[in-house]
Symmetry: C2
Subunit: 141 residues, 2 copies
DNA sequence: CTATAAATTTAGAATTAGTATAATTCTAAC
DNA sequence: GTTAGAATTATACTAATTCTAAATTTATAG
């Protein structure tokens, strides 16, 4: 009786696993500093696995999100973007060119506590987004 | 020669103004504590102005947003929601029931400064969203 | 007063994003 | 090899939002 392991390619009975397609989707999101949309993830995933379908990319992103492996970043415009989930971090969006970058804010443990207190919610996570001008756009050239 | 004033209903040459339709949309967003979607705003606006079109609601929301009178709140799921822009404040979303509430976090002036420093962006605004369990959902009843 | 110009509104088409469905495929357990 | 259950695929569908072109509105210029 073989023990179930969670490596890529194993499916079937029991708990859900990191399948080949999910692995591909995860690799796409984790490689590179971009924050791709689902459509961009699909295009990149196709290069590694031409048969993968659009629906699977969405399903995989949802799975990876709830598994805590990727994060969804949504702002009002267009499509959601996906970000590798390494450590807790924050986002800055350029109001001029739309660039999205990660940054780390110290003292977020205290921040999350303060936010929980102010909102009376039991905090699970906190997301901080700064809107402003990126270094490129703030320097008129 | 009459001087242009910016009261509702005046259009034409020169700068854009708060038209009647935009005023209706603004009123809808400002009345009530809900955070309506564009569709909900449309439904409510229709009661005040039956001829208003869907596109105008979207256009108005975009205008009001960039004018700083309403705020768009987007999370990954479904439609964007709109919030009156009174003072700077933050949002908490219940991961269980989807409730969205406003709350105020003290010390955000320093926070925005720290975020600008960490991101190297010129800050315009900062948005903090807490995901967690609302008071109702955290109390199993 | 009349003509003009610029922005806005309207209605509906078009686009985009994301979800649902049903059939098929895959893999581990037996 | 058969079976069971989850995952994948392809496609259809729904919902959200933007675009387009024509008509409207109204402040200014003539």
């Amino acid at each position: 009786m073989r023990k179930l392991d969670k490596s890529a390619g194993k499916r079937g009975f029991g708990e859900p696993v990191l399948t080949r397609q999910r692995k591909v989707v995860l690799d796409v999101v984790q490689s590179g500093d971009t924050h791709p949309t689902a459509g961009e993830v699909f295009a990149a995933a196709r290069k590694m696995m031409p048969a993968i379908s659009f629906a699977t990319v969405y399903n995989s992103l949802r799975y990876l999100k709830q598994a805590g492996l990727v994060r969804e970043v949504a702002f009002g415009n267009g499509a959601s973007r996906y970000d590798r989930e390494t450590d807790r971090h924050d986002h800055a969006i350029c109001s001029e060119c739309g660039t999205l970058v990660d940054f780390d804010l110290p003292g977020t443990v205290e921040l999350i506590r303060a936010a929980a207190r102010a909102s009376r919610f039991k905090a699970e996570s906190i997301h901080l987004t700064l809107v402003g001008l990126c270094p490129q756009c703030r320097a008129p050239k």
